[in-house]
């Protein structure tokens, strides 16, 4: 039985074993899963416990801290209030002072602003003074312009006067040069045409002008056509020539005169004394001539001295004029001859000249032609 039972048991156990082995796979898994679930559950419960404990402890601590902070705040509040109340007065005083100062500053700024504006506008940038100044400047400018205008006009007038004078001088010079164009009593000049009512002004000018004298021609120098002048050397330098040329090219004066060059040559001929004058009396040839001179004196041809004119010896009476009537130029005519005196005794005939022939016909027209010189017929 035991064996059977054992056998049954073995068989049952074998069957159980087989059933167990069948369930083994799943058993393992089941076992694992249950363990895991338990584990997780345990962990979860552990964490929850921790959380609850933490929370609780925190609450406790917080209550403590809250209490402490409340106390601290209370202390600080009271302390600070105490301090501020202690210094409050000073602060208020200071603030009041600053406020007053600002106010005074404001007012001072206003005063200074007005004063400076006034001062600047009155004295420094004085508008009215500037206006007056500008007005004065413009008036002065007018005055200066006026003066300058007058000055220019005066200058222009002077220029014109100078020009006029120059022209006048020119005209007068021309008139003097052409004085021969003046009309005579018989022949009217070219400026005195018979067809005119009155003579030309040139005619009057010619009447007043004096004829020119003969002038020396200016020496035409060889440097006359230069481009530069002394001090850029215009005039010729004074050359030292051998002969002093005194007016060498003076024109020959009108009349029976000799050629001036000849005259000058003669005038400035160097002295050539005769041999006799050049030599002294006491030189050997001079002494040699002494006997010839004495001989000449000894043997004259004619005894009487040579008389000036033939009847000289007849009335050889030298008239000696009285001292009272003679001056250094000869005898004075005063007292012996009178002005406008006529000496009929000296006249040859009593009557005036008689004309034997009729006068020339042209001379009859004397004073009766078209217009006399300058007179209106």
């Amino acid at each position: 039985m035991a064996a059977a039972s054992c056998g049954r048991e073995q068989g049952a156990s074998m069957a159980a074993l087989a059933r167990l082995q069948e369930r083994l796979e799943g058993l393992r898994e089941e076992y694992f899963l249950t363990n895991r679930a338990i584990d997780e559950d345990r962990k979860r419960k552990y964490k929850a416990a921790v959380k609850i404990q933490r929370w609780f402890r925190a609450c406790r601590v917080q209550v403590c801290l809250r209490h402490l902070t409340k106390m601290v705040i209370l202390i600080q509040k009271w302390w600070r209030g105490y301090l501020r109340r202690k210094h409050f007065r000073e602060i208020v005083e200071r603030a009041y002072f600053i406020k007053k100062l600002k106010f005074y500053n404001e007012m001072a700024v206003r005063i200074q602003k007005t004063w400076r504006g006034y001062y600047v506008r009155k004295y420094i940038h004085n508008f009215y003074a500037l206006k007056k100044y500008l007005k004065a400047v413009s008036m002065n400018n007018e005055f200066v312009r006026h003066e300058l205008q007058e000055y220019t006009e005066m200058k222009e007038n002077e220029e014109k006067m100078k020009d006029l004078e120059k022209k006048d001088k020119e005209k007068k010079y021309q008139a003097r040069k052409m004085h021969y164009l003046l009309s005579t009593k018989q022949i009217p000049g070219i400026y005195n045409s018979p067809l005119r009512k009155s003579p030309d002004p040139m005619e009057l000018l010619l009447q007043k002008s004096k004829p020119l004298t003969h002038r020396k021609q200016p020496v035409k120098s060889p440097f006359a056509d230069e481009l530069y002048g002394w001090p850029t050397c215009k005039e010729p330098p004074a050359f030292v020539t051998s002969l002093p040329l005194l007016h060498a090219d003076r024109r020959k004066p009108q009349g029976p005169f000799r050629d001036p060059a000849e005259v000058l040559r003669q005038r400035y001929k160097p002295l050539e004394p005769t041999l006799r004058a050049r030599e002294s009396m006491y030189s050997a040839p001079g002494k040699a001539r002494e006997p010839t001179r004495r001989e000449e004196w000894r043997n004259p041809i004619h005894d009487n001295e040579f008389l000036p004119f033939s009847s000289y010896h007849k009335n050889y009476e030298k008239y000696e004029p009285s001292l009272f009537k003679s001056d250094k130029y000869g005898q004075e005519a005063y007292g012996t001859k009178y002005f406008r005196e006529v000496y009929p005794k000296k006249w040859i005939a009593d009557k005036d000249f008689e004309t034997l022939f009729p006068s020339i016909a042209l001379f009859e027209k004397f004073g009766k032609t078209y217009s006399s010189t300058g007179q209106i017929v």
Binding site: L130, V137, V144, P237, F239, V240
Partner: protein
């Protein structure tokens, strides 16, 4: 008899030398024959004649050399290289006045060409001899010597200093007091050439007492003398305030204003230059000029002249107006703007236009009132035309732009700005629009218009200005 023959030979030789010298002097006066003379080696032949026994041959040889050197630079250099200068000046003190004149002529003819030749003359010791000539009694000799000094001193400050060191300045001041007009002219021109280089030289001239005599000669009727005197005074006054004050203290105002009405153009120009040099230093001197009526005279002078003669007058107005707004107002009140406007339009030269534009800018830049006066005279369109014109020079464009900018920044007179709106380039437009934007009374139509303008010109500046105005 043989004695006479021997003497005849010598006489012939002397006559031949004299004829040669005279003939060369004659030929040297004609430009066409100078080349032939040069190729014939005339300089070397004339050199021994300078030491001839006969004084007239020496004089003629010196005259011929002077004319040759006067003709051009190469001949002058040839004359210097031939070593003529020492021989020319070695016996100068004992010579007669014609020789001295001829020698001065030679020195002047050489010195006028270039600074190197003038330096050669100085180095040969000619300055001492020229000073001796200046002390001579004959006015012609003095004239020649001072002319030579003038040409030497003209080139650069060192040569001027050499002239001053030789002691010429007091003698020149004495020359100015001489009665001969030609001598006065030359002496004044020489003083002008000396004092133009530097303040120290001008101070030397002033210390010799030149200003009083120069100022006395301003009323002289001779035009050329006046030119030189005014030029000398302006060269002295231009260097510093003290010198300008010294010139003013010589009581030149208001006599100088009569020079501005002279019939000679260059007298007017030099008179205006003198006033300009005085006006540019300080406001007080400009004030003095305004008070004496100088501004009116200068304005009349500008109106009556043409060309470069106007330039110093225009610059005077610019300088006077630049100092302060009161002086600028005085220029406006003296009717200064119309002549300047006429100058801008009429003149052809760019530098005169530039000066006129600058002067207008100086007048209009101070306050709104000044800008209004300038704008009312219808100047702005002209300035704009000049700025935009392609054939204006760079300098002219720059000055026109600056003037426009200065005037526009102060101009509140809007009707004058309207014609500019049409043609202005962007660089000018921003100022115009800026002025419009500042105007508190701009009408709505105008603002719309301006907005339109700003929009069609995508310019950040104009946008910014629009922002400000709306």
């Amino acid at each position: 008899m043989s004695q006479r023959q021997v003497l005849q030979v010598f006489e012939q030789y002397q006559r031949a030398r004299s004829q040669f010298a005279q003939a060369v002097a004659d030929f040297a006066a004609r430009p066409q024959s100078i080349d032939t003379l040069r190729s014939a080696g005339v300089v070397c032949l004339l050199r021994p004649l300078l030491l001839d026994v006969v004084p007239s041959i020496r004089q003629t040889a010196a005259l011929a050399l002077g004319r040759l050197a006067d003709y051009d630079v190469e001949l002058a250099e040839a004359v210097v290289k031939a070593g003529i200068l020492p021989q020319l000046i070695c016996s100068l003190p004992e010579e007669n006045r014609y020789y001295k004149k001829a020698a001065a002529f030679v020195l002047r003819a050489i010195a006028k060409h270039s600074p190197q030749l003038a330096q050669a003359i100085v180095q040969s010791g000619a300055l001492g001899m020229l000073v001796i000539c200046l002390e001579d009694f004959d006015p012609g000799v003095k004239e020649g010597a001072s002319w030579a000094f003038g040409y030497i001193a003209r080139h650069n400050p060192e040569l001027s200093q050499a002239v001053v060191d030789a002691g010429a300045v007091p003698l020149l001041v004495l020359c100015i007091q001489e009665p001969e007009i030609a001598l006065k002219r030359i002496a004044a021109s020489t003083l002008s050439d000396i004092s133009k280089h530097s303040p120290e030289l001008a101070q030397t001239v002033v210390a010799a007492g030149a200003i009083a005599y120069l100022a006395q000669m301003i009323p002289n009727p001779d035009a050329k003398l006046k030119r030189q005197v005014l030029s000398a005074l302006s060269q002295i006054a231009k260097h510093s305030v003290d010198l300008a004050e010294l010139v003013v203290e010589a009581e030149i105002f208001p006599v100088v204003l009569t020079c501005l009405k002279d019939s000679d153009e260059y007298v007017k120009k030099n008179g205006a230059t003198l006033i300009r040099e005085i006006a540019k230093h300080t406001p007080e001197l400009s004030q003095l000029i305004v008070n004496s009526g100088g501004v009116a005279a200068v304005i009349d002078c500008i109106g009556s002249c043409r060309g470069t003669v106007r330039l110093p007058g225009i610059m005077t107005l610019g300088y006077v107006a630049a100092h302060s707004e009161n002086l600028s107002m005085a220029v406006i009140v003296s009717k200064g703007i119309p002549p300047l406007c006429v100058c801008l339009i009429e003149e052809h030269e760019d530098h005169i236009k530039a000066a006129a534009a600058w002067a207008l800018g100086q007048i209009g830049r101070h306050t709104a009132e000044h800008a209004r006066h300038v704008a009312v005279a219808n100047v702005l369109p002209t300035l704009l035309d000049i700025f935009v014109d392609t054939c204006s020079s760079e300098d002219l464009k720059v000055k026109a732009k600056k003037a426009l900018k200065n005037i526009l920044q102060k101009c509140t007179y809007l009707p004058a700005l309207e014609p500019l709106l049409h043609e202005a380039p962007p660089s000018i437009m921003k100022y115009i629009i800026g002025q419009y934007s500042k105007d508190p009374q701009a009408s709505p139509s105008k603002t719309v218009w301006i907005l339109f303008f700003c929009l069609i010109q995508p310019d950040t500046v104009s946008f910014g200005i629009c922002h400000n105005s709306f």
